[in-house]
Structure formats: structure tokens, C-alpha cells
Symmetry: C2
Subunit: 234 residues, 2 copies
């Protein structure tokens, strides 16, 4: 599951009412750069409307790590670039203002620890993909994640609306556009995925797609790692 | 720089004195598994003596994410496997006990946020390596990191003691032993690295090694990303 940066549960708490005190409203046009990954401006942002992309750049390619949607919080000191995928309104507070809030409200710190943990989990999933799966498996896993969100069960057909272009998908699975479209064609030739127009895909059988992604489906309640028992030490 | 999970600055604070209340001492033999990456036991551990390895496993390979040395804190709910690289003594507290400490002592939460941030930075560096660098560049970057720790400047020769086997280095750079040793031979043929015996390496010229790693050295005070200016929004 893509990691969640949502502060809904933080806002739902009594202390949530004053959460936005000290934040300033900012709006960014499509393509606007909120952070160039440089340690120039340290603060915390919350997406109110629109969508941001958190990514890394190399010489000739980009790697998308996360998309941030309304309700999601992130910082500008992660070293990543942050770009507006569409016209986006955010609330921004510099790190000092936010640090003060953390001191006054320990439950905020708990919320942030959960967010950072899930962000790290997202990074580790990406590392697992990059090291243990080839492009076709990573692409299959991308569609599998979407099918899971649409609550598809093994054996059933799942229609999916994918708002991302093949280039944007390529940036998510850490590969070039050409290699990604070749892998997509392979999945289609094998009848795992079909596509009508730009954004309408259909997963023919979620169970078969999971096998192609090299993961079990539905995921066993414990991770697929062999249960080599942890010894409790002495 | 490899991420730091050290709680030294937390322990140095007045509130540090009671930090270990509620922790229990455990010792693990070399090869012992502290966590199998399963959600069976949720707690926080601090390495007192020895060395642990945090890693992910695929079908035929492993990916080392971090090594934990004395003074480092980690958790058992990250989904990673944690193994004792040598006989290791830890202090362990279940997550409930530790959560209570966080509530009573907000500065602890700040320390943890910094640790999680640096852990995430470590993951993002690994992603950057896997997506934008080939094995030879990743291996060059591994030796460059070590040379930086040994404070080597461009143009100078830096002797390095590397306690890791080629297999362990391969697990760190996310590749197989064969490919990694071929890349090591290439770096040696190009005169960038020389090796005497199992663990004694010499970096001939740190500046040339940085170029081979595809990174600037010394790192400019700002990251090497082109400074496409972030717009402050309206
Ligand atoms: C160095 C110490 C720690 C590390 C490296 C760490 C790492 C992680 C990781 C990787 C995850 C994602 C796991 C998953 O969702 O599969 C996570 C989740 C989480 N962690 Fe930690 N954690 C640490 C300490 C703590 C502590 C001390 C607490 C609170 C007492 C905590 C609370 C949480 C929470 C609430 C989640 C979110 C669970 C969820 O929503 O799925 N973590 N952490
Ligand atoms: C969703 C929100 C956040 C994310 C995703 C995040 C992410 C990160 C990352 C990736 C780093 C490593 C950067 C580097 O060392 O180059 C980091 C470091 C750090 N972050 Fe955050 N952060 C967040 C919020 C915060 C907040 C609210 C605070 C405190 C008010 C904070 C305090 C720190 C500290 C103290 C470090 C360590 C800096 C160092 O020792 O180098 N972070 N964070």
C-alpha cells in the first residue's frame, strides 16, 4: 500500500483544532517547484488541495518516491525535490514554528513518528522492488497495488482508472519510459492487463497478476518472509 | 555518510539518566536472529556491545540496509530482518513501555524524529544508488564514503581497513558477489583502488574515485542537484 502521510488522525484529536496556527497559505501553479532538495528552506507543509510529487533526479532520469494528496504532511528538509503536479494549495510553517507545536503537544510527535515510519516503509518497499524484482515484476506490482485499493480479489476482473502516463509510471518503478512500455506490452500479451484509451486499464485476474509480481495475494497476515524464528536471546 | 541511529545526544540530556528504565538486557550469539521481520514482537532495542545487521531478503539474495553499532537504537516493527553479526548485547523494551517514556519526555520524541529522518535519508541514498548508478559507481561510492570517514581529501592516498567480505559489500550495494568482485577488479585495474590481503585497501586518489562514483568531492555545501529555484508560491 502506498505510504500515508495523512494528518487526519492528528486533526481529529482535540489538539488538532490549533494545528494550523502559525501556518501560512501558499498556492503553486502546475509544474511549480516547492523544494529543490536544497537545505535553503526548512519547514513543514500540508497539502490542502491539488497534488505534489516527491522525487529524486539523476543525470537523465527521475525517480518518484511519493505523491502527496490533500491532508498529507511533508517537510522541505528531506533532500528530495517537491513539485506541483497540478495547481496546488498548501499550508506552510517553518521548522521552528512547527518544532514549538511539537513541544507543546506530544501527541503531535506520535503522529509524526507514525508518518515517518510509514514513509520509511515506502522507501524500503521501493528498495525491495529495485533489488529483487525486474521491471515486469515491478510494473505488475504497481497494478497489483492499485487493484488492491480497488479491493479486487483473486480470480476477479478489476477495472482501473490510472491517471498517470507511462512516463510517470516509469518514474515510479525506477525505469526508463521505453523499458516500461515494453514491459507493459509484455503484460498485455500475456493477458494479465488490457488497456482501452489512455487511462482505462483492466486487470484480468488479480491472483495471476500477483504471481507475475512475485508476491503472494492476498498477502498472508504475516509478511511472505520464511518464518526463521527470531531467538529471544538470553 | 551512513545514517546514525545513535542515542548519545538523547542520553546526554538530563532526562537521559532514566532512559534505560524498563529495558531488559538480552544477549545474542553470532548469527542469532533478533527479528524475522514479522509483526510478532514490537519493541525498541539499543545495541550495548557488538554489531547488528538490518536487511531485506529476496529469493536468492539479501540487501543490507544498515549496520547497528553500540549506542544505536532501532525497532522490531520495521519489517526488516535484524541479525547479530557477532556476539551482541542489547537492551530491549516493548513498544508500550517505550511509548510511555515518549509521553513523559517530549525531548525523546525529538531525538527519535531525527533518527527516523536520518534512517529515511539512508534509504533514499540507497534508492538513488540503485536507480542512478551502475554497480561500479555504487562500489566506488562505498569506498568513497569510507574514505570520507577517514577524512581523505582529493588527490591524497587513503588507506582503509574494510572489515566486510566481498559478499557483505555486495549485499550493501545491492548486487551479487560475482558482479561485485568483477566491479572491484575493474576499479583495481583502473588504479583507483588497491588491495593487500583480505581487508586492507588503499584509495589512490579520492578525487578520481569520486568521479568514478558519479558524485562531486568534496560535496559542495549544497547537494549536487542543479539549483532549479524553488518558487515560494503566492
Ligand atoms: C529507531 C526506531 C524506529 C524505527 C527505525 C522505526 C521504523 C518504522 C517503520 C519502517 C515503520 C513502517 C512499518 C510498516 O508500516 O510496515 C514504522 C511504523 C510505525 N512506527 Fe516505528 N520505528 C521506530 C521507532 C518507533 C517508536 C519508538 C514508535 C512509537 C512509540 C514508533 C511508532 C510507529 C508507528 C505508530 C508506526 C505506523 C504503523 C502503521 O500505521 O502502519 N516507531 N516504524
Ligand atoms: C513528514 C514530515 C517529515 C519528513 C518526511 C522528514 C524527513 C526527514 C529526512 C528524509 C531527513 C534526513 C535529511 C538529511 O539528513 O539529509 C530528516 C532529518 C531530520 N528531521 Fe525530518 N522530516 C519530517 C518532519 C520533521 C519535523 C517536523 C522535525 C522536527 C520539528 C524533523 C526533524 C528532523 C531532524 C532533527 C533531522 C536530523 C537532521 C540531521 O541530523 O542531519 N523532521 N527528516
Amino acid at each position: 500500500m502506498p505510504p500515508r502521510f495523512s494528518i487526519d488522525d492528528i486533526l481529529a484529536k482535540p489538539s488538532g483544532a490549533s494545528f494550523f496556527d502559525g501556518f501560512i497559505a501558499q498556492s503553486h501553479e502546475k509544474g511549480g517547484l516547492i523544494s529543490a532538495g536544497l537545505p535553503d528552506r526548512d519547514g513543514v507543509l500540508v497539502v490542502m488541495d491539488g497534488k505534489l510529487r516527491v522525487y529524486l533526479i539523476g543525470e537523465d532520469r527521475e525517480m518518484t518516491l511519493f505523491y502527496l494528496v490533500p491532508g498529507d504532511m511533508f517537510c522541505t528538509h528531506s533532500g528530495c525535490l517537491i513539485e506541483a503536479v497540478e495547481k496546488t494549495d498548501i499550508r506552510y510553517a517553518d521548522i521552528g514554528t512547527f518544532a514549538k507545536k511539537l513541544e507543546d503537544n506530544p501527541s503531535l510527535a506520535f503522529g509524526l513518528i507514525g508518518i515517518l515510519g510509514r514513509a520509511m516503509m515506502g522507501c524500503m518497499r521501493t528498495i525491495e522492488d529495485l533489488v529483487f524484482r525486474d521491471i515486469k515484476q515491478r510494473l505488475a506490482r504497481f497494478f497489483l497495488d492499485r487493484a488492491r485499493v480497488a479491493q479486487g480479489n483473486a480470480g476477479t476482473e478489476v477495472p482501473l482508472f490510472i491517471e498517470l502516463t507511462v512516463e510517470e509510471i516509469a518514474n515510479l518503478v525506477g525505469s526508463s519510459r521505453q523499458t516500461t512500455s515494453a514491459a507493459l506490452n509484455a503484460l498485455m500479451r500475456e493477458g494479465l492487463i488490457s488497456r482501452k484509451g489512455r487511462s482505462n486499464y483492466t486487470v484480468a485476474d488479480v491472483g495471476r497478476l500477483a504471481a507475475a509480481a512475485g508476491t503472494a495475494f492476498p498477502p498472508p497476515d504475516e509478511t511472505t518472509r520464511p518464518a526463521r524464528q527470531a531467538d529471544g536471546g538470553r
